[in-house]
Symmetry: C2
Subunit: 305 residues, 2 copies
Amino acid sequence: MPYSRPPQGLYAPIEYVLGLGGKRIRPVLMLQAYNLYREDVKAILPQAVGLETYHNHTLLHDDLMDNADMRRGNPTVHVKWDANTAILSGDAMLVLAYRLMNTSLHCPAVMEEFVETTMQICEGQQWDMEFETRDDVTVEEYIEMIRLKTSVLLAAALKIGAMLAGAPTSDVDKLYRIGTCMGLAFQLQDDFLDVYGDVNVFGKNIGGDILCNKKTYMLIQAQKKASPEQRGELTRWMGRDDYEPAEKIEAFTRIYDVLHVGKDCQTLIDSYYAEGLSLLSGLSVPADRLATLRQYVCSWIKRDN
Amino acid sequence: MPYSRPPQGLYAPIEYVLGLGGKRIRPVLMLQAYNLYREDVKAILPQAVGLETYHNHTLLHDDLMDNADMRRGNPTVHVKWDANTAILSGDAMLVLAYRLMNTSLHCPAVMEEFVETTMQICEGQQWDMEFETRDDVTVEEYIEMIRLKTSVLLAAALKIGAMLAGAPTSDVDKLYRIGTCMGLAFQLQDDFLDVYGDVNVFGKNIGGDILCNKKTYMLIQAQKKASPEQRGELTRWMGRDDYEPAEKIEAFTRIYDVLHVGKDCQTLIDSYYAEGLSLLSGLSVPADRLATLRQYVCSWIKRDN
């Protein structure tokens, strides 16, 4: 591996982060898209690893910026080492991602796609940070933020996989849109499950977003539909520092229930989900070849965890 | 420019940093190397700007890691904005650099060269950080560190310029080595001038490296040649927190004088300088075409400021 060379002080944190696991959704999507058209999936392993390396670069720097102590049940790099190590190793992971993406690559269009994607993800992260201090974020702005921060990388995974396989342009574009829809559905599902998920199946604690006043679809939609009284109650809770977590979560959930915010969220999820699946069926690929990819996206979209 | 699009919170710090000026040595070297073989230098402006953008990305993140408040007489990004802005805008500059390098590029070898270079610069920065807490750094290790941290980017500037111009491989390799030699000579010159420079011509204050115990060539070479007594005196000074800056600088300088460390440094500078110039004359280019580049490297190597 490129990070087996010295200095270990630079590469050890990278191996640590990449060793923490995760669902590896992005490389899997890329390989599956490629596999719709070609058998020799091993040919694009460097690009698949590059995508996962890039994704972990964003997690490493996001955790540093969010001051998050844990990631996948282990201490984050700036905790296990220090902030400077997190900055420099994170930079090195970004460089590694481009190197892997460029490996035995004779298709500048793929590099262009990857570069534009990584730029958009920086922009999504910036919007996300700016939204924290704004109280007038619209649903449209929120959807655009999660599209940039989360969806474009899933979309690029499918698109680049197809590009590398030499798929027809119409398929390449469809796959990009499929990734976008699935990414949006996935993130909205995450927002929904923070309120209505089952703690035993859902990885995180329920109500985490509510407690830190995170402007998810649920909260933005609630504020939009709320009566002056309800809006006032939400605002008061968000202003308080001293409260019983359970009480705040209960109060928010009650308002969400009354306003049917959960239903709105599910409707939106289903519409993205449906668009993605219908686009999937529209690919110029024999139905039986589509089975694996369809099954895969269903498995992590319709997850109730 | 790619960074004229929203969010301004991401791009404003980038425009700020790139607007602070600087000698623009790297893009100039790239354009001059290209111009040895071709006239249409405008064709590689994106790559030249990409190189400068990359260089400023390293300055931005290095200043954050070093906790430096000022850069080119202006507050650094983490001071003017905050640390998170410095991290994310710095990441975005790295992405922008790759995008610019990839612009209308049909030569994956150039991207490969750039990616390998940026990887080595991360490694150089890591060595530099590790050397701070080591007291057994050898001259050879130091030279390798400054080669990675400083020289490879100058070398890549010349090499990529020549590659883009379709120069013969032997010239491309010579230009890389020329950049390496000039980079090493330049950094060693910097170490020398910190001790023996004229404060009025040398940008920084004299003795800055001495006061922060920076392991430059001067100190490493002095420790190597020092008698037990002299080594003891250096060590004592480095351990003290309470001292008259002028006294410490004077004490170090006295030891450097006695050990002729300045002379050793100049000898080394001259050897790299001579190697670079003789390689320059060996290029398969008419002598008159070489004049500009020769003049340029001389101007900033033999600078006595």
